[in-house]
Point group: C2
Chain length 238, copies 2
């Protein structure tokens, strides 16, 4: 019996952990979402405090697999990709997937910074004015730029896949990115994706993959909420 993967991430949000959850779920890999089990949060915090063996993570998500402790979302997916059959085998394919995943990570970070432009440690309520200014630039410049870019990537490739000739973890992450943007900025995302039919079609195709569909319908999928990265504050998407 292969050892199951142990995913460590905050138990109440999709956040960055969701990109890893989607890959594990799509591949039906055996995994434990540790912080959602009894005593799991204590274990997560012990790793963060450097009180466990292995390379200390700066922040969740991190994955424990055997003796390895691996942090940084894109790095976890780079490690899991070949093991889950979710990336082309060649170095060129893996490098392309990693590049696109890091660009998705940049988009995710910018979507987060919209509601926290001043400080992660402050509440949204304490930076609302600044958030409004940031949101305007995100909605009108950055969000369209990112979705246009990924549409271009899909167009340049086989039209259906971000990398290579089959679904990869990048496609799963693009699904999550579009879902998150749609949740947080429904109007702006609708406007921006009018010219990105391939990206929308990819989102729909991923949602229909049997393992993804059953995951999304399960209670393992945490709903979007206002503690996560993608938050719906109507004043930020007028």
């Amino acid at each position: 019996v292969p050892r199951p993967y142990e995913l460590y991430y905050w138990p109440n949000i999709q956040g960055r952990g969701e990109f890893v959850r989607l890959a594990l779920e799509d591949a039906r890999a055996g995994y434990v979402d540790v912080a959602r089990t009894k005593g799991g949060m204590k274990a997560l915090l012990a790793y963060l405090g450097g009180k466990r063996p292995g390379l200390a993570p700066f922040a969740p998500p991190f994955l424990r697999h055997g003796v390895l402790v691996i942090a940084q979302t894109a790095n976890i997916l780079h490690y899991l990709g070949p093991r889950l059959g979710l990336v082309p085998a060649s170095e060129a394919g893996r490098t392309a997937a990693n590049q696109l995943q890091l660009t998705i990570a940049d988009a995710v970070a910018e979507a987060h910074d919209v509601h926290h432009p001043v400080a992660v440690s402050l509440y949204y309520e304490d930076q609302k004015r600044e958030a409004k200014r940031n949101a305007e630039s995100f909605r009108t410049e950055r969000l369209p730029r990112y979705v246009d870019y990924f549409e271009r990537i899909l167009t340049a490739g086989a039209g259906k896949f971000a990398v290579g000739r089959g679904h990869s973890y990048v496609d799963l992450s693009l699904f999550q990115l579009v879902e998150g943007l749609t949740y947080a900025f429904p109007r702006a995302t609708k406007r921006a994706t009018r010219k990105t039919p391939r990206l929308l079609a990819l989102r729909d195709r991923i949602a229909e993959r049997p393992n993804v569909a059953s995951y999304l319908a399960s209670d393992r999928r945490i709903p979007f909420n206002e503690d996560g990265i993608f938050r719906r504050y109507p004043e930020l998407d007028p």
Copy 2:
């Protein structure tokens, strides 16, 4: 004769390209800093516009090597690492290096967002008030947290290297991170690094590596300036 690496990055700043330049310089790899050559900016923009073969980059830096076009700083270094002898050969070592490099990238992004909390497309002068609030949180919370983390990594390892038993591209990047923080936030960095002797010693050791030292003394090393990521605005480091 092996084909030289072609680095594409903005010609007037260190920015994110500097992490790649340092690796190429330390290894004395043959490379062309394309945008600093005649007609180079045009070539850079053609790639960004998707008018060249290969996977289109979202933003510089990107590296051309044979038929491959590789973007995202950490991804470029992950690709170059084994070729330049700047990362352990094992998957575990490469994964650890990539994780740390991505954490450095997060620190760099946060250092950038200090002077651009509202929008990348606006001038600093148009977001000075917000920058002041962001800078306070960066100086007192984030900067110390990052340098403490990397000190912990150096302490847990052999004490001298971030990954494995020799210098890697992560050490070169930590040098650049400390140099950049020291330039942009001299007072806050001095305070925060009082308790990180290993990180400061690593910075000094890297600066003395012969290839790095001769690079730093050459006109290939662009000086820090207020168009880059690390900017010295005295009002942000009172």
